[in-house]
Structure formats: structure tokens, C-alpha cells
Amino acid sequence: MKVLIPTLLRSYTGEHSEVEAVGTTLAEVLADLDARYPGIRFRMIDEQDEIRRHIRIWVNRDEVRTLKISLGASDEVIIFQALSGG
């Protein structure tokens, strides 16, 4: 499925803003993403499998808070950085 990558994580994807990953849950998709782009998952997800404080993940038009959500092949995963800075 399609995964949209925010600017601050594109150093992992060769600057691609859109990449492919497979899995039947968000956890599996992120694991596959990490296999393709080593290290990217830990920058978004902590060691307790929590989405980091300033990262937002959407599936299609819904923001998700857990990695256990089921996904279909036509779903689109969109990763954002929260609007904060300084």
C-alpha cells in the first residue's frame, strides 16, 4: 500500500515522499517500512510501540492512535509531523 512520508523522514527513503509497504495491520506495515528503510520506525514509534508525541499517523481520512488497526491493500497511510517547532 501507499505510505506518504513527511519531509523530516525522507532522508531514510532517498527523499521519496511516497513509498510502498505491505502488511495487514499498521504494525506490520511499519515493520515492513523499517525493513526497507532501516531505522525509520524508531524515529516515529517508541520502544513501547507508542506513536511519538510529535508524530501523527492517518489511515485514509482518519487519525489512528494504535498500531493494531487492520489495513487493506487499498488503504493509504499518511505520516505527518505535528505542527510545532522552535
Binding site: 524508531f42 524515529r43 516515529m44 520502544e47 511519538r52 517547532g85
Partner: protein, 395 residues
């Protein structure tokens, strides 16, 4: 305590070559390189532009490639922490395969997550490729493959006393509670010291499998029990590399000295001028003389402004283990100099005379070629400086 009783050191030969300052800032890393005379400086960077660089440390031991490994602990405002290493003094970097991370908690239990790696220390000289890392919240991690993968030092991180020792999130600094000042005894790789803000100083004699507090004599004036077994706020603890029974500590509540096998710290900061006080963040040791140390006092009064007292920045040096102190402000602003120098942002080289260096949160690097006798600003307009490590490029 007097000069005659100071343990003798096995002094290394002074360095004579160029020096590099490894500068970690809130917006990237910089390397400031000197000529052999340490008179002119050239800056390179930023590396990791826009990333928060918490600490950057060059291993003094040769790595498996025959070179020296440079480690950088980084994060960003949005992303989780990571670690990178360089084999060419920062020209190219490779990200760690497994940065420090706590063990995953059992289902239904709340676990800890590393916010950032705050402190890096190379392991013992006999253990090539080993490193230690201290994190926020307080955690101790070890790498045995030159910083590529990190394992939790369970004897500390999962110790039944961990919560008592480390406290909660409210017990840390504004940047979060942190584990720092990892010191490895050069005589024994199994003998370790660590410190926490807050929590105090702890010692292990078995490579981190077990720990005991080492805080007797250290004030904690922010607690109802003023001299607790643990819970003090150690800002920076240094073990003298050539006289490893001698430790110095800059604490939230003063400057202390401990000589092992003694267990009670002596508040040598009581000998500082009363109008200056003995509050600050870094403590820097002379590479050869265990009786000489530098501090950079901060205003610890009222709401803890943590700036140079009276807006008149100065280092203070003691040549007799803290018995007396001398002010060093030549070259520094005479007024309206509201410097803040963080605990990792002051260090010394190994020349003779020793070069002493510090960085400010307002982005200036100051250098002294004569052990603090005169200060010169050698870089300015950098981002907020977190750490300055002086390293020798050649001997």
C-alpha cells in the same frame, strides 16, 4: 586534605599538536579546529543541521579499522532519538542499527521510552569498541560494537530500587531527568560510576550488575532530609584519569571532592568566595594534576537564574584540591555578560599549559591557552551550545 596528601598520578605526556573542539548544539554539530599553537581556529559545520545534537565524543582508543570512532547522540524536535558514528572525524556518518531503548513493558504495564541520549563515554581501554550511554529519562546502556547496537544495563535500568533512586519526571531538569557522568575506572573495567539529575551518584564494581549510592556528605537542600542516601542533584562528576581514586562533583548544592576508598564527599566549594557561591554545571579536571580543577559558577539564588553571578562571567580554578580558588576573568566581559554554561559545555585539552574551553547557551566558544589565565572568544553566533569536547588530533 592538603597538597601533600594528594594521590600521585601517572601523568601522560602533554600533547603538542592541533586541537579540535567537538561542539554539540540545539541545531546541529560543529567542529572547531586549531593550529598547533592553538592560536587560530577554523570551524566546520554544521553537521546534522537542524537536529538536536546532545553530545559528540571521539574515542581515544583505536577502533578495529585503526582509526578513531566519533559518536554523536542526536534527536529532533519531532522525531525519536538516534545515534550516529563517523570514522573520518565527521565527514561521513552511519546511523546506529539499534539506538538505546528500554525493554518493552509487559502487556498492560506502562513502560519507559528513551527521550534522548544525553551522555556518551567510551569504555575501558582494554575493551575496544565498548561504549556507555546515559539517557533521559535516566537509563544506562552499553554498546560492544562501537556504537552500532545498544543493550540496556539491566542491573541499573531494571533494578528494584530504580524508581526510588531516579524519582519521577518531576525530579529532573527542565530538559528532563537524565543519567550522565559515566566514569570508568582506568584500573578496572568493571568499576563504574554514574550520576543522575536527579538521583545522585552511584557506583558499581561488577560491570553494572549491581549498584550502591555514593552520596554521603552531599547536600540536598530542596528536600526535607538534607543529607539523604540518594536523591541529590549531581550536575557533573569527573574521575581523575591519572589518579582514579580522586573524584570531583559539581552539584546543585555545591562543589565536592571524594577520595576513595572514602565514601564521604567533602564540600570544597565552601572555600569559594561567598558572593559567588559554588553553584554551577561543569567541573573540568587537569589531565595530569589531580589537585587542579576548574568550575564556572552560576547564580543559584532566588529562582535559580543559572547565569554568571552579577553578569560578570569567570571561571574559578583551584590548584590545591579545592582548598583555595582563584578567579579567572581576563578577556571575559566585565559586565552584562549573562553566560550560561551547561554541564557538558566545558572541557580541557592535554597540552602544557592546558587549554581550557567553554561554550555558552548564547552560542559563543571561549578558549584559554594558559589554563584559564586569559580567555579569547574563538566562535560566536552558533546555536545554543550543549556540549564542548576538546580532543587531540595528533600527539
Amino acid at each position: 586534605m592538603n597538597g601533600d596528601q594528594t594521590p600521585k598520578s601517572s601523568s601522560p605526556k602533554p600533547a603538542t599538536g592541533a586541537v579540535a573542539l567537538l561542539i554539540a548544539t540545539r541545531k546541529g554539530a560543529f567542529i572547531l579546529r586549531s593550529d598547533k599553537a592553538r592560536r587560530t581556529w577554523r570551524i566546520v559545520g554544521p553537521k546534522f543541521f537542524g537536529h538536536i545534537v546532545h553530545h559528540m565524543v571521539l574515542d581515544s582508543r583505536p577502533n578495529a579499522r585503526g582509526g578513531r570512532t566519533l559518536l554523536a547522540a542526536t534527536s529532533t524536535g519531532h522525531l525519536g532519538p538516534t545515534m550516529s558514528r563517523s570514522y573520518d572525524l565527521g565527514k561521513t556518518w552511519r546511523e546506529a542499527a539499534r539506538p538505546p531503548a528500554f525493554a518493552k513493558a509487559a502487556e498492560g504495564q506502562k513502560g519507559r521510552a528513551v527521550g534522548h541520549t544525553f551522555w556518551l563515554t567510551p569504555g575501558h581501554a582494554s575493551e575496544s569498541g565498548t561504549w556507555y550511554a546515559g539517557t533521559s529519562p535516566q537509563g544506562l546502556f552499553r554498546s560492544e560494537d562501537d556504537g552500532d547496537t545498544w543493550i540496556s544495563v539491566s542491573g541499573f535500568n531494571d533494578n528494584p530500587m530504580y524508581t526510588n533512586w531516579a524519582g519521577g519526571e518531576q525530579d529532573g531538569t527542565p530538559g528532563g531527568p537524565m543519567l550522565h557522568s559515566i566514569n570508568v575506572d582506568p584500573r578496572n573495567p568493571r568499576h563504574l560510576y554514574i550520576a543522575m539529575s536527579s538521583g545522585g551518584v552511584f557506583e558499581s564494581g561488577d560491570s553494572g550488575a549491581s549498584w550502591k549510592p555514593l552520596n554521603a556528605g552531599v547536600l540536598a537542600d530542596f528536600r526535607p532530609d538534607k543529607y539523604p542516601e540518594y536523591g541529590q542533584d549531581a550536575h557533573c562528576v569527573r574521575l581523575h584519569p591519572a589518579a582514579p581514586d580522586v573524584l570531583y562533583q559539581q552539584n546543585h548544592c555545591g562543589i565536592y571532592r571524594l577520595e576513595r576508598p572514602g565514601v564521604k564527599w567533602q564540600r570544597v566549594g565552601e572555600n569559594m568566595p561567598k558572593k559567588i557561591g559554588d553553584i554551577g554545571f561543569p567541573v573540568v579536571l587537569h589531565p595530569r594534576d589531580p589537585a587542579t580543577l576548574w568550575v564556572f559558577p552560576m547564580d543559584g539564588g532566588t529562582v535559580w537564574p543559572r547565569t554568571s553571578p552579577g553578569g560578570k562571567p569567570a571561571s574559578y580554578v583551584s590548584r590545591n584540591s579545592g582548598k583555595t580558588w582563584r578567579r579567572q576573568d581576563s578577556g571575559l566581559p566585565e559586565s552584562q555578560g549573562w553566560f550560561t554554561v551547561k554541564r557538558q559545555a566545558m572541557s580541557a585539552d592535554t597540552h602544557d599549559p592546558v587549554g581550557v574551553y567553554f561554550g555558552t547557551t548564547s552560542g559563543e566558544i571561549w578558549a584559554s591557552r594558559n589554563e584559564g589565565g586569559n580567555w579569547v572568544c574563538v566562535a560566536r553566533h552558533l546555536p545554543e551550545i550543549y556540549a564542548v569536547e576538546a580532543v587531540e588530533l595528533a600527539r
